[in-house]
Symmetry: C2
């Protein structure tokens, strides 16, 4: 089934101990779409400037990624520059230039309005809600990402948007900030009262936890001896998660657990190379093999 | 099979947001023994002062814990005082009084010298080795815990001791410090060259990872909404791990995985109450039920 995603399409300048790139395709919606497209057709909603060339666009071509919702306007695309420390557990943002993204007002092409699966990337909660208002058929599942900036500055707007979504995908700190609770399992109970039925807490090198009604599911990070570029790991996780869910076509205990595994698989591939490179050179056999290795990583027989 | 443990038996003063105790039985060997005794007979090697009363001793009585290796000398027992912050993710040590522990020179009763499973708690690596020298039959498995203090100050002695052990059980920071490698999986390769065949990295609220030859196994922390006292969680993990292994009587892929689960189970029970209280009021049915819940927490079917 189709999966709609709204979020940033950007250019990134990235420096890690393994190298440096001055301009590479980035942005949450780019990582998300490339990861998700391995599982299901993706409909992208975003905005770019006239510096977004046919060559940049070609990264999405030949995949199941519909770009009819990618708005092109005069000006420069969103630009982000960051540098990771030696151990890649900390990063310094060197530049954030919103450019055309500052005036983003997502408009869905008519063909997108029946999307059964939706992911609202980390943008202004008012814009996230405006996307939902344009969807005509009731979706099967809506996922949402947000961050400290929106939790702090647009709390009422975010609360309103959360009423309409089922799956919230954030990190430890955001979970604590949004709920006002340090303990993550008590935090989940608070958050469930706001609307979501499923909370996914992304914990980077510590994996991810899902709290869903009465069960908790935990998936570790894949053991990698070498990480080249952590940029986009969380967005690739979200893409793998939602992409798998859309391909399964239904949300239940089993599909949610598998979605967590495929999210982790895509996140682990993303960091093996700079930018989106690894996601574009990935095949289904590699994905399946790594998902099976997650099973070996966690299974035991009492 | 019998499990020998050497380590501290102490009195603790503990303050957490859930309460305060001025004097409660503590020390790594106490938590370890109480946790392990749910699985196998334990032989404790330690030292206490004449402030260790019959009432203190009664905590160990009626369990499979042999105290003939617990030396009693004039003076005060090891005393530790600590305070946890509101979120219990940080603690301040208020006092560490080694007292009689400062002159500890472990001597094994003759009945201990054939112990097939051994755990060398976090003490001077020279003393850890002196325990091994007193063991006559070749043990099936030797586990070891250590800390930054010994890694920094007695590096050569620790390296010598590590040559003789199979299972190293430390935390993230200690793994990085000992190996000089930030990446934990590369760190494991370094550590395997020092002697151990199995590295268990304890990560507190993030669970634990085991690296053993060619496989990695990961177990999450049990989802608890309320932690009363984190003291002894790592020692209870070690006790559950080694106790299960001793009860299984052999070390292989399957028993090591299950040992990780039982370690996590015992660690999760320990923190539910102050000091060792929960470990003393635990029955086998509760342990089995929680181990099964770990399976639900991590299992999926692709």
């Amino acid at each position: 089934m189709s999966l709609l995603v709204v979020g940033s399409v950007a250019f990134d300048a990235i420096e890690t101990p393994h190298g440096k790139v001055d301009r590479t395709l980035g942005g949450a919606a780019s990582y998300f779409s490339l990861a998700a497209s391995h599982f299901s057709p993706v409909r992208l909603v975003g905005i770019v400037g006239d510096d977004f060339t046919a060559k940049d666009e070609s990264v999405f071509r030949g995949r199941r990624i519909d770009l009819s919702g990618l708005e092109r306007v005069p000006g420069k695309s969103f630009f982000w520059a960051g540098r990771y420390n030696l151990n890649m557990n900390e990063r310094t943002t060197l530049a954030t230039e919103l450019n055309v993204f500052a005036d983003f007002n997502p408009t869905l092409p008519p063909s997108y309005c029946n999307s059964p699966f939706i992911f609202l990337g980390n943008i202004d909660p008012t814009l996230q809600r405006s996307v939902l208002k344009q969807v005509r058929c009731k979706p099967k599942a809506i996922g949402l990402d947000t961050m400290n900036y929106w939790i702090e500055r647009t709390s009422a707007e975010l609360r309103e948007t959360l009423k309409h979504i089922q799956i919230l995908m954030i990190n430890d700190d955001e979970t604590r900030q949004l709920s006002g609770e340090h303990n993550l399992f008590r935090a989940a109970k608070h958050i469930f009262k706001m609307g979501p039925r499923t909370l996914i807490i992304k914990r980077g090198e510590h994996g991810a936890i899902m709290v869903h009604n009465d069960f908790v599911f935990s998936v570790p990070a894949y053991p990698l001896e070498e990480v080249h570029d952590p940029t986009g790991a969380g967005d690739s996780f979200a893409g793998g998660f939602m992409g798998y869910l859309a391909s399964a076509g239904k949300v239940n205990d089993r599909t949610l657990r598998n979605a967590m595994v495929y999210g982790s698989v895509l996140g682990s591939f993303a960091v093996e190379r700079f930018g989106v490179e690894r996601l574009t050179k990935l095949n289904r056999a590699e994905i399946t093999a790594r998902a099976r290795r997650f099973s070996k990583l966690t299974s035991f027989k009492l």
